[in-house]
């Protein structure tokens, strides 16, 4: 706002020099008070101790494209492990001459996710595009038709498997969790107790045991000769598990909704489904975006537990590559590489959630930092 014209002219005061610029910022943030100054110095000392050797190891003394033998003679990192084993880490046991197929599938998946990022694209057409994309990805991966060589799902491994388990796990677990949360709020006692029992049971069991059950116990109950794909079983276990956690988070959001919102919607004549879909869920789900994304991120990382049922996800293919005698001993480099892939994915999710939250805040017109 501007100062009104007839107010007495105030002298234009500038902040004291010691408060602006680099010096000002340092005084303000690093050296204000003796405790802060000491902490700053301690941290600086710690960085001095850690960073230079790290840089030397990772960059100066490292080898990037060499034989394993060459690596053994240096002190630095042997990044050569990564290019030499990249194919196996990423694609695992997928036939080498066919690996363009998972590659195209993954590119397609990332493209779809990228396209879906924008909320203005969220419409019915996007649903069809996804459906078509899924069919294409499925055909590419599985083959056996259109002249594509068939590839057993037992050969699916590496990054495509991790993405498959996590993307489809999350995409299916989210709506299922929302339905469970609504069920838990239901006035019908049967529905309500069913949901409560389900949620509490699942939350009382670690994911590893669910994966075990899915892979070892579950087939025992199937009639002779009927088998369900192992990946599918793991996927179902992940979905069932994640959904229970999502349900609890969403319930928190539902409980945060004021009663007046339900009443206003009902007073307009909206039915239950409309009230939930148009009024309650858009607000409740928005409130719980941060904890929901927390759950999705841990679900993503937990897909690596499928190692327990002998599925070769990204982490497991890396481990296998390390068990090659030629490359044994370079696990630090290998795990840093895999960690970087996980980090990029998780960071993207958490970043996107913040953006979504900002976009969904009403009255966002330029008022946001």
């Amino acid at each position: 706002m501007t100062v009104s014209g007839n107010a007495p002219k105030a002298e234009v005061l500038r902040p004291p020099v010691t408060r602006v610029g680099v010096v000002g910022w340092m005084r303000e943030n690093l050296f204000n008070g003796w405790l802060n100054s000491v902490l700053t110095l301690v941290v600086l000392y710690g960085l001095w101790q850690v960073v230079p050797p790290l840089v030397r190891w990772a960059l100066v003394d490292s080898l990037w494209n060499s034989t394993p033998e060459a690596c053994r003679s240096i002190d630095g990192a042997c990044w050569s492990f990564v290019p030499a084993n990249l194919r196996f880490i990423v694609f695992g046991f997928y036939p080498a001459d066919q690996q363009w197929r998972p590659l195209v599938s993954m590119v397609l998946l990332v493209a779809l996710l990228w396209w879906s990022r924008d909320r203005s694209h969220w419409n019915r057409r996007l649903g069809w595009v996804w459906a078509a994309g899924l069919v294409v990805m499925g055909v590419l991966m599985r083959g056996g038709i259109l002249g594509l060589q068939g590839v057993e799902t037992s050969l699916w491994s590496g990054l495509p498997l991790t993405l498959l388990l996590s993307v489809f796990g999350m995409v299916a677990a989210y709506p299922f969790g929302v339905v469970l949360a609504l069920g838990r709020q239901s006035r019908l006692p049967a529905v309500k107790s069913l949901c409560v029992v389900y949620i509490e049971m699942i939350r009382g069991v670690p994911l590893i045991s669910m994966l075990f059950m899915a892979s070892v116990m579950f087939p025992l109950f199937l009639p002779e000769g009927v088998t369900i794909n192992k990946i599918l079983r793991a996927l179902v276990a992940i979905i069932l598990f994640t959904a229970a956690y999502i349900a609890e988070v969403v319930r928190g959001g539902l409980q945060a909704m004021p009663k007046g919102q339900y009443e206003a919607a009902e007073a307009l004549g909206l039915n239950y489904v409309q009230t939930m879909r148009l009024v309650i869920l858009p607000q409740a789900l928005k409130i719980v975006i941060p904890p929901t994304v927390g759950i999705l991120i841990s679900a993503f990382k937990d897909t690596s537990l499928v190692v327990i049922i002998a599925l070769y996800d990204l982490l497991n293919t890396t481990k296998s590559a390390l068990s090659n005698p030629k490359w044994m001993g370079f696990s630090t480099e290998a795990y840093i590489f895999v960690a970087a892939i996980y980090f990029v994915c998780c960071y993207a999710m958490s970043n996107y959630s913040r953006r979504l939250e900002r976009e969904l805040t009403p009255g966002r017109a330029g008022s946001d930092p």
Partner: protein, 252 residues
Amino acid sequence: MSSDATAPDRPVIQMEHVHKWFGELHVLNDINLEVGQSERIVICGPSGSGKSTLIRCINRLEEHQRGRIVVDGIELTNDVKNIEKIRAEVGMVFQHFNLFPHLTILDNLTLGPIWVRKTPRREAEETAMYFLEKVHIADQARKYPGQLSGGQQQRVAIARSLCMKPRIMLFDEPTSALDPEMVKEVLDAMIELAEEGMTMLVVTHEMGFAKSVAHRVIFMDEGQIVEENEPHAFFDNPRHERTQLFLSQILH
């Protein structure tokens, strides 16, 4: 919409021997009330006397446990379809506005018509703009509720109800959450509505409004209708002791 404000003959709301309990608490005790077409009724009474519960029974936000309520020829039972039909015919304005904060003003207004009445969006938006003009707030259509003042929000809430083209409007203390300087703009909107012949039940302690608009004033206490009269007689010569006590309290 009927413009004949002086002929409250055909009852659009009938309540016969209505009782309601919250647990042990007898909140409505043998309520009998008939409201005619275009009739305007003001309900007052001490806090906790059951005023809100009474009008909330009319659109089934609360369920009555004994007696009969007939709205616009439809009896209120557990039949969900009937309830939704009645809710579409009966508009309600709340003390705390209860606008949908995640939707723009315009979307708040078109939500009901589009989803309940199945009105095409264009038409719903035209109607919405018409009613926003009426409550003098059309320039705010693209904003969100959180960006409006209390008085503006309550006028939006009134417009939102009107977009459903209701036959009856219920108001539950529409001005009591407002800063004093905003009370008038809301009351003016309500008076305008009354002049067009809307059937209105208004829970309020605004005496000026009651005197200028209401056909009848009802006084409730402890779940009962204690006294009922034409407004001037009601305020000038209350018959019951409890009414007198209450009026002496709100007048000071």
